[in-house]
Symmetry: C2
Subunit: 184 residues, 2 copies
């Protein structure tokens, strides 16, 4: 009965928001600017998103979907190192969007929840599986701690920016994490 919503408008809106943000910063992302650039009525944007933050959140969550392939070698340390290397590599392009996503989430509880459920937990479980494939499932709490330490170090450097996310870091994290788990 109704006319369905335009997928082209969906795409144009998110794309415009992202472009505006990367070109001119957060302040430039106004609802009118998004609609104008997308060639879309303002109401068409408001029909999909409640406010500006929701548009940006949607765009950033989409950006965040890129997943890293999980290596399945014989050594935990080298699997871990390769995983982190690929992860850091991917973050070279998406890192800025991601750190802003988590930053924005600090001011919006529902966004924070969405990021946690759709993203943080997702990635935690991937890394936990990688580790438990080598360790067995009996040391869950230790594995959780080491996952906090690894992703923690990643986010910490990403958000604070005091040091780069490079291969050197991947190597050191893998080595010291594995030692911490007492795996010879």
């Amino acid at each position: 009965m109704p006319r369905p919503r335009s997928a082209a408008a969906d795409e144009a809106i998110l794309e415009s928001a992202k472009e505006l943000f990367t070109e001119s910063g957060l302040a430039a992302v106004t609802m009118e600017a998004i609609a104008r650039r997308a060639g879309v009525g303002k109401q068409t944007v408001y029909r999909r998103y409640a406010n500006r933050d929701a548009v940006l959140a949607a765009g950033w969550l989409r950006e965040a979907e890129t997943l890293v392939e999980v290596p399945r070698g014989r050594s935990l340390e080298s699997d871990l190192r390769r995983f982190l290397e690929r992860l850091f590599e991917a973050l070279q392009s998406t890192g800025d969007a991601l750190r802003r996503l988590l930053g924005q989430a600090q001011f919006d509880d529902s966004l924070r929840e969405a990021v946690r459920d759709a993203f943080i937990e997702q990635r935690r479980s991937v890394l936990m599986e990688l580790i438990e494939r080598h360790l067995g499932p009996d040391r869950r709490r230790e594995v959780e701690t080491v996952v906090d330490m690894l992703y923690g170090a990643m986010w910490y450097r990403l958000l604070a920016g005091h040091a780069p996310l490079d291969r050197e870091l991947a190597r050191r994290l893998a080595k010291q994490a594995v030692r911490g788990l007492r795996v010879p």
Copy 2:
């Protein structure tokens, strides 16, 4: 020659901004609301801060000043555990302000730099000294990595909120970090 700026106004402005934020959230913190509650002219606020974000940033940086005392015992692991326990304890009250400070910093490069210089690096060096007191200064790179892992885990849980910052975490972090450094 000039009349000095009122310290009472300084204080009232930051206090009002903080109150508005904690009572009614970010959106309620407008320059006019700050000025009104502080019993101060709007210009008096603008004379001190360029915009709303600057007011909030100043209040949050002030919040962040609390420092944790450094334990100086005989065992690295127990010193580390105690340090983390106290740190997490302090974060029970200031954690929300801090995670929002780092969140806001993702959208303001100069604030991010200020947080990094005045805060992140400050605390990193304290923790590095604690560790190097037990290890000696010859393993700087390893120590840096473990500091990234420890503070990283802290910020990660603080920002993502997937798990609490409790004594259990302090204990596990200390244990696995020390193992990772190969300290018997």
